[in-house]
């Protein structure tokens, strides 16, 4: 799909060294709009709703913050650890600033884990962008579904 100038600008912001060392696209060579579109199609196939996923992840993040960087158990089914670093990161879509918090969620029954940041949660919620293949913070919808027990 053809990229609008806004998407082209955003894709530039996602390159390594602009906002984070690794950037947001990993080794994915697809245009940004294609990455988003493919994940949106996958969400439809898996019958998962973006708002619902984001709501669940926000709930886990909020609970994890109470642990002050210690792993806490959330309603018996998840372990959550939130690590906080100094500073803020701008969203590559230029619609906000986000704490450098990384959240590790472990789904206890399956042992599956999900790693995301405050910024990646915003990218998921507002832009349906789960990052490119190979990015450290790439979230696969199938894994999200398993970890969140959807």
């Amino acid at each position: 799909m053809k990229m609008s100038p806004e998407y082209k600008q955003t894709a530039l912001q996602m390159q390594p060294g602009i906002i984070t060392a690794e950037g947001f696209l990993g080794n994915d060579t697809r245009p940004l709009v294609d990455i988003i579109q493919a994940d949106e199609e996958q969400a439809t196939r898996l019958n998962v709703e973006w708002d619902k996923i984001a709501g669940h992840l926000q709930e886990l993040y909020k609970a994890g913050k109470q642990g002050q960087e210690r792993t806490i158990e959330f309603i018996g089914k998840w372990n959550v650890k939130v690590d906080e670093s100094r500073g803020l990161l701008p969203c590559p879509f230029k619609d906000g600033l986000f704490h450098k918090h990384t959240i590790l969620v472990t789904h206890k029954p399956s042992g599956k884990q999900l790693l995301f940041s405050e910024l990646s949660l915003h990218l998921l919620e507002k832009h349906h962008f789960l990052q490119g293949k190979g990015s450290s913070f790439r979230m696969e919808l199938s894994e999200i579904k398993t970890v969140l027990d959807l």
Binding site: P16, G17, A21, Q68, E84, R86, G87, L88, K100
Partner: protein
């Protein structure tokens, strides 16, 4: 053989080249602001800079360094300056960092102001003490799996005058795919008495531009530039009991303050240092502070480990650092003494600590903190 098939690409190339020259010429005309005068503190100092750059970088080129933890990317909100001249309305990138009062008072983020015309500025006197230092890495030591102690020997200038609790901005050079300099703030962990070598504690941030460089590329013998001293987290008062609370790399400014007190024999105050870590492997400098306790009878080091399931021999405080603080405020710290608190760590830890402290009647005004954001 006819070469007519080359005509079209040649014509297109020629037109593109002419267009590029025209665009460069127009750009030169439109964006050439010439020399611009910056009048600082009612004309006490006037500098001439080339227009077109940000105010932050224009001042830095004249060796006037405003605090900036992000190096001009509008993500830290630290590089505030009063611009008395009209430079247009506040930009959307400035708004998250400014209060209504600051906006009324013409405070701007210097990294977001492009210098185009003569400007009247107000810069606090103490900021003129901030300098750029060239240093050499003398030691890199792993403290925990994700925490490193870095020692830097000052080369030019060779000495620094700073207050315990202040911080420096590392200037990380371009590396790998990263094409521009990056600046990040790190608290000085050593005391001001040690003025030719500075210590820092750096925690690895996954994906962090600066910490990735520090953990993967920086080695002993390398040079590293920094800007310092910055910040106003420092020791206050003289007699109050001190409650110091830190987590992880929040250790750095507290260590600087405590060792400075010890060196300068400011040891009459009761000091309780609560240091919280997640697991036993995250604990560091334990022996250093136990040795300090032996020299300084009214100093108490209280490490708290949240999860001790991997170390059955641990006999100290367990659980969150705020739980240890509460235990001590309830049973071990004299209630009648006036108290001050010094906090450094994650916002979550700081907010929880403030809640505990105020519930034990520590005045909000006597709580000093260096939040991680």
């Amino acid at each position: 053989m006819s070469l007519s098939f080359l005509v079209a690409p040649f014509v297109v190339g020629a037109i593109s080249a002419v267009m590029a020259v025209i665009i460069s010429f127009i750009d030169m005309l439109v964006n050439n602001y010439g020399e611009v005068k910056l009048s600082i503190n009612s004309g006490k100092r006037v500098i001439t800079v080339k227009g077109g750059s940000s105010l932050l970088s224009s001042l830095a080129r004249q060796n006037i360094f405003l605090p900036s933890a992000c190096g001009g990317r509008a993500t830290c909100g630290v590089c505030k300056i009063k611009v008395k001249s009209d430079v247009g309305p506040h930009l959307p990138t400035e708004l998250p960092f400014l209060t209504k009062e600051e906006m009324r008072d013409k405070i701007r983020l210097s990294c977001q102001i492009k210098v185009k015309t003569n400007l009247e500025l107000e810069i606090p006197q103490e900021l003129f003490a901030i300098q750029k230092y060239s240093t050499a890495v003398t030691s890199i030591r792993n403290l925990t799996p994700d925490m490193r102690e870095i020692k830097l020997s000052l080369k030019d200038p060779e000495q620094i005058d700073f207050k315990a609790g202040q911080y420096a901005q590392f200037i990380i050079p371009p590396y790998g795919k990263i094409k521009q300099e990056t600046q990040r703030a790190y608290s000085i962990a050593s005391g001001p008495g040690q003025n030719s070598e500075l210590e820092f504690i750096v925690r690895l941030v996954p994906g962090g531009i600066a910490t990735t460089y520090i953990f993967t590329l920086l080695k002993e013998g390398d040079t590293l530039d920094l800007v310092a001293p910055l910040g106003d987290f420092r020791l206050h008062g003289t007699n109050e009991d001190m409650l110091c609370i830190a987590g992880g790399s929040g250790m750095a400014p507290i260590k600087s303050i405590l060792f400075d007190m010890s060196e300068n024999k400011i040891t009459r105050r009761n000091v309780y240092y609560f240091f919280g870590v997640a697991t036993p492997k995250d604990l560091f400098y334990q022996k250093m502070f136990e040795d300090l306790e032996k020299k300084w009878p009214s100093f108490h080091f209280i490490p708290a480990i949240a999860d001790v399931s991997t170390d059955s021999t641990w006999k100290g405080e367990t659980g969150l650092v705020t739980a240890a603080l509460e235990n001590y405020l309830t049973a071990k710290i004299p209630k009648q003494n006036p108290k001050q608190a010094y906090l450094c760590g994650s916002p979550g830890m700081i907010n929880a600590s403030i809640k505990v402290l105020t519930s034990y009647n520590v005045n909000q005004a006597d709580i000093y903190y260096d939040k991680f954001s």
